[in-house]
């Protein structure tokens, strides 16, 4: 196979000239003929900061019509091959497009009913065919991108200009599903779409590249989501729920009084009390049992929500392993793994049911594995080093709605009574309502 080049040099230079930017290929020692084609080569930012940062450019891309299935919808997008980073553990490795690659194929899978982007934990299976012959077969990487949010993508080789048919197969969602999603996404589905790979396509996507001023490269910040773009129209974008959308009593970083931030990821964390908590217990009931003796229970049943997301665009951070160490006055009550969960209202989060949560309890959340998702430029240095998050159950926590006050203060000689009483004075609507009330 010969190296196929993406676009005529003339075309690329033209697009860069329009963008008012220097030609990153001008130092190339080769002097290709005008007919020779080039994959766009993007300048690297030297020593990018260890946080979310502005890349050199917005990718140009083409979105295709959303494919609607019985359970899920797939929105495909296509652009030129470009670098990305893959992750194992805390190793982040840059992947350059290979000489065989012709396009970067992306797909976002979502629930058209709720608009929620789905993590598809089993991945997608993709076959690219030309004239009935398979030219590429892939399980594309789950990826994070500032413009695309959470999606699946990969660089893919083709076989020259022509019409290609892509078949995308989804599998059942195996992670925990809550609040109306329990019976959903049990079966895989198959979708297909066609695209035309030709000079016109290559020009369109390269012409859409928007270069940032060089002094902004590496600056703190993130490109705005593609949904804001007029050229591509309505593309779903994975967005973690806002503070107001996450129910329950929110737990804040004691040092900042804000949701905890680790490795530039923002960890919105809350405890949902009864009866709302029960709605989450359908598929994952933890075994944080308080012990043989029921009378030792001093706290309340809770569902712990941890909703990590990128700063700025609030893209949910998937493919992590989180656990929580629950203790009270230095005594360990439980150490539990959180379950990756998809909820019909708040979407992807990490959840766990706890049986005995009282005001003043310590909840230490360990990020055992940072997001294993592949990354587009601007996200590859963030979300890697993520130390534990130590949180304290705040006074606003009342846990259950108590209709009769049975034994909620019995046997507590640790000051919990007073705190609960204070909370009761706030109107007694439960932490959930309080948190919402606080939302601006």
């Amino acid at each position: 196979m010969n190296r196929r080049r993406f676009l005529s040099r003339a075309g690329l230079v033209g697009s860069l000239a329009v963008a008012g930017c220097s030609d990153p290929t001008e130092d190339n020692e080769e002097t290709p003929t005008p007919e020779e084609e080039l994959v766009p080569e993007f300048p690297e930012i030297e020593d990018p900061p260890d946080r979310v940062y502005l890349p050199t450019h917005r990718e140009g891309m083409e979105a295709y019509e959303t494919l609607s299935g019985d359970e899920v919808a797939v929105t495909p997008m296509l652009t030129y091959p470009h670098p990305f980073w893959i992750v194992d553990g805390t190793n982040v490795e840059r992947v350059e497009p290979s000489e065989d690659d012709d396009v970067h194929l992306m797909m976002t899978v979502w629930d058209e009913g709720t608009g929620i982007v789905l993590p598809m934990d089993a991945g997608l299976h993709v076959e690219v065919e030309r004239d009935g012959e398979v030219v590429a077969e892939r399980v594309p990487w789950p990826m994070l991108s500032q413009e695309m949010g959470f999606h699946f993508g990969d660089n893919v080789p083709l076989d020259g200009d022509g019409t290609y048919e892509v078949t995308v197969t989804t599998s059942r969602i195996n992670i925990a599903k809550t609040r109306g999603y329990e019976e959903r996404f049990e079966d895989g589905e198959r979708f297909s779409f066609e695209f035309e790979f030709d000079e016109a396509f290559r020009h369109r996507v390269v012409d859409r590249i928007e270069w940032l001023d060089e002094e902004r490269w590496g600056e703190e910040g993130a490109l705005s989501p593609i949904t804001d773009s007029e050229e591509t129209g309505d593309v779903p974008y994975a967005r973690a729920p806002s503070t107001g959308e996450v129910p329950g009593t929110h737990l804040l970083d004691p040092e900042t009084d804000e949701p905890a931030t680790r490795g530039d990821g923002v960890f919105l964390t809350s405890l949902v009390g009864s009866p709302e908590a029960e709605a989450f217990f359908g598929t994952d009931l933890g075994d944080d049992l308080p012990g043989e003796d029921e009378e030792e229970v001093v706290g309340e049943v809770a569902y712990l929500i941890v909703s990590p997301r990128s700063p700025y665009n609030e893209v949910p951070l998937t493919e992590m392993a989180l656990s929580v160490d629950h203790s009270r006055e230095g005594d360990d009550l439980a150490e539990e793994d959180l379950a990756q969960t998809i909820d019909s209202e708040i979407g992807f989060h990490y959840g766990l049911s706890l049986d005995d949560v009282a005001v003043g309890d310590d909840l230490s959340i360990a990020i055992e594995t940072p997001p294993q998702t592949a990354r587009h430029q601007g996200y590859e240095t963030a979300f890697v080093e993520m130390p534990d998050i130590d949180l304290v159950v705040p006074e606003a926590w009342t846990g259950a709605e108590r209709d009769d006050g049975v034994d909620d203060t019995e046997g507590t000689d640790d000051g919990v009574d007073d705190e609960e009483a204070e909370d009761g004075g706030n109107g007694g609507n439960g932490g959930d309502e309080d948190a919402r009330g606080d939302e601006e």
């Binding site: 992750v87 194992d88 934990d121 077969e137 990969d154 599998s171 392993a321």
Partner: protein
């Protein structure tokens, strides 16, 4: 016909086996001349009762790892007759197989072969084989939709010499009238139809040479190490990770001395494996994160001797590794299914370019198919998914393999190989 142009000798030989047929055989003889291949047994001599008794006649390396024959052909055959086979069918098959035994030494220098019988074959009798669980093949993961090999017979031919497998195949199904100087009385085409043929290769140099052939899905950058016996670039089949022939042999009932065979055929996403993953990531995904960190594998596995270097501790730590390392190794996961430290499967897998793409015929033997299913479950690692690794992401090598076909077979003892009844009568 397969063109030699631009191919090395080994590359051309392998291409001829891939092409198959009398044309390939004659091209093979034209190109390389007739190789002297040792002859088989004389009247009165006998071969081992176990069809799968190959290890004793395969070479072993200095570490005691058995080296598989280099060239392989799989023939899937359907009995033309409806209903139960007759004595005539039996005589036809047995006669053809005995011809091969007389023609070729039972060795990698000559020819090794097995005959497997599918669950569909036994349905001709309306009952299952006695003393053996032989289920129909099924999909074994959520993310595969394989076709199933349900033809009556699966013949597996193997030799270090392409000439032997091609000639044996031609004699069995193409009317070729002589094998290694022995006259072929009758070919199987008189009572059987060939449903498909598949072919493959394994051994140092063969995968790397495939890079010259412009096979779609093999990266243009020629990343496969010359020394690697498999496409994925590493040695495998270490003595310590292989079941013994005794361990896979059926112990009781009429088919005692036989074994069961599972064949899964898959394509391999080699371009991503080589062009995107780093060597360290490949090692972590094939062996374990610790193997990668401590660099104990070498470029293609040369630093390992007779085992994949997995300690009990590492095997037991698989779930913990998922959560803390973010990646688990294929070998590490599979080793969890060992019983008292003993592997359950005897792998005799080999690579292929059937269908014009890089792939693997994962052929393995075990006492019961259920044992294969158990190992496969451990390999799938669904229990690990969501705990630091995904269903496929960083979960061994699942992201790189696409299972297209599965088949289950009974390899009866040699004396019962030719169309036995479910009670082991002949």
């Amino acid at each position: 016909m397969t063109e030699r142009a631009g191919l090395t000798r080994r590359g051309y030989a392998r291409a001829l086996v891939a092409a198959g047929g009398i044309g390939a055989l004659s091209a093979c003889l034209d190109e390389f001349g007739e190789r002297e291949i040792p002859g088989g047994i004389e009247e009165g001599e006998e071969l081992p009762e176990r069809q799968h008794a190959w290890n004793a006649v395969c070479e072993a390396d200095e570490d005691g790892n058995v080296r598989s024959p280099r060239h392989h052909v799989l023939l899937s055959l359907a009995l033309d007759r409806d209903g139960e086979p007759t004595d005539e069918d039996r005589a036809l098959l047995e006669g053809a197989l005995e011809t091969l035994e007389r023609a070729y030494e039972w060795s990698t220098d000559g020819l090794l072969f097995t005959v497997g019988l599918s669950p569909s074959y036994f349905e001709r009798f309306g009952s299952e084989p006695a003393g053996v669980e032989l289920p129909h093949p099924t999909a074994l993961t959520d993310f595969e939709e394989p076709d199933f090999d349900e033809a009556d017979l699966l013949l597996h031919l193997a030799s270090d010499h392409e000439q032997a497998v091609l000639e044996a195949e031609s004699a069995l199904v193409e009317g070729h009238d002589e094998v290694n100087g022995v006259t072929v009385e009758r070919g199987l085409e008189e009572g059987f139809s060939l449903e498909f043929r598949r072919s493959g290769f394994v051994g140092e140099g063969l995968p790397a040479e495939k890079q010259d052939d412009d096979v779609r899905g093999i990266p243009s950058s020629d990343p496969i190490p010359e020394e690697a016996p498999f496409f994925m670039g590493f040695r495998s089949g270490f003595r310590e990770s292989q079941a013994t022939e005794d361990r896979v042999t059926i112990e009781g009932g009429p088919f005692a001395g036989g074994t069961t065979e599972h064949l899964s055929s898959m394509t391999i996403q080699l371009d991503v494996w080589y062009e995107q993953d780093t060597h360290a990531q490949r090692v972590a995904k094939l062996f374990s994160a610790e193997h990668a960190r401590e660099d104990v594998v070498g470029e293609y596995g040369e630093s390992l001797s007779d085992s994949s270097g997995l300690t009990e501790e590492r095997i037991e730590a698989t779930a913990a590794d998922a959560r803390t390392e973010g990646v688990v190794g294929h070998a590490q996961k599979a080793a969890r299914a060992r019983e008292d430290g003993e592997p359950l499967l005897l792998r005799r897998d080999f690579n292929t370019v059937d269908g014009g793409r890089p792939g693997l015929h994962f052929l393995c033997l075990q006492r019961e198919i259920e044992e294969f299913v158990r190992v496969r479950e451990a390999m799938t690692g669904a229990d690990l998914a969501g705990n630091g690794v995904g269903q496929t992401l960083n979960n061994g090598i699942l992201q790189y393999l696409f299972v297209n076909r599965r088949g289950n077979f009974l390899l009866p003892p040699r004396s019962l190989r030719a169309l036995p009844t479910p009670d082991g009568e002949w």
